[in-house]
């Protein structure tokens, strides 16, 4: 039975990772025009780094030699893409030539990222659903 809950842990790790991706997308989208940050300069697009990591309990993962893994958000990094510069004299954050540096966030990119995260989240949740059905079914044994 424990093994079944380990499977659910894998799916929940996947859902957590995808939710984090969505959070980062939301943050990027919200800051698409932010020209001031605490660190100075415009907002920098954030990206998540995912790694495969064993999330199950020791005994079960040994059977697979630790090869079957869940996923973990390793880090949230700042994108190194160049900033966009537009002509906007009069803006308080514009430089001497009247150029304003905007965040390196691309709305289109964020949208595709958002859709891909949503779909991946759905896939993980359907695995969770199936696993749950299997557990319920196994409770029917000898009924």
């Amino acid at each position: 039975m424990k093994s079944m809950f380990d499977i659910m842990k894998i799916s929940s790790s996947g859902m957590r990772a995808q939710r984090t991706r969505l959070e980062v997308v939301a943050q990027n989208m919200a800051n698409v025009h932010t020209t001031r940050t605490e660190e100075g300069g415009p907002y920098r697009k954030k990206d998540v780094v995912l790694t495969a990591q064993d999330v199950s309990e020791a005994k079960f993962s040994r059977i697979f030699g630790g090869k079957v893994e869940g996923v973990k958000v390793e880090d949230v990094i700042e994108s190194a893409k160049p900033f966009e510069r537009i002509q906007s004299p009069g803006h308080p954050d514009a430089d001497k030539e009247g150029y304003l540096t905007l965040p390196n966030v691309n709305i289109m990119e964020e949208m595709t990222d958002m859709i891909s995260a949503t779909r991946a989240y759905e896939a993980n949740s359907s695995v969770l659903q199936t696993t749950k059905q299997m557990v319920q079914k196994s409770l029917e044994i000898a009924r």
Partner: protein
């Protein structure tokens, strides 16, 4: 080896298979992750012989195209496999339940 034993072992392998699939779907966006699989029949045969090991097969390359992040998970494939796996699991549970109800029938003297 009795029917109950065989079904029990098959259920065991099916539940492990579900874990492999869950791992693949969770890692659909992990760069460099390779899709994993197990050979159900071979694992079941191994179980019959009393082996405890499960051999995990990795897919080094996806058919057709290669993703830039070198991840080889094919979600559609995995969902199909998952559905098949859970249906087979259900079938096994039904089979073992029938076996038990037959036993109960005999125990009760055919009543």
């Amino acid at each position: 080896m009795s029917v109950t034993d065989v079904i029990e072992k098959a259920l065991y392998v099916r539940s492990r298979y579900q874990k492999v699939i869950a791992g693949n779907i969770a890692n659909v966006d992990t760069p460099g992750y390779k899709e994993k699989d197990i050979d159900f029949e071979r694992e079941l045969a191994g179980r019959m012989k009393g082996s405890k090991e499960v051999e995990v097969i990795e897919t080094p390359q996806q058919e057709g195209f290669t993703r830039l992040d070198e991840n080889t998970v094919n979600v559609e494939d995995q969902v199909v496999k998952m559905t098949e796996n859970s249906l087979m699991f259900s079938a096994l549970v039904t089979a073992i339940t029938k076996k038990f109800s037959l036993m109960r029938y005999v125990i009760n003297g055919g009543r």
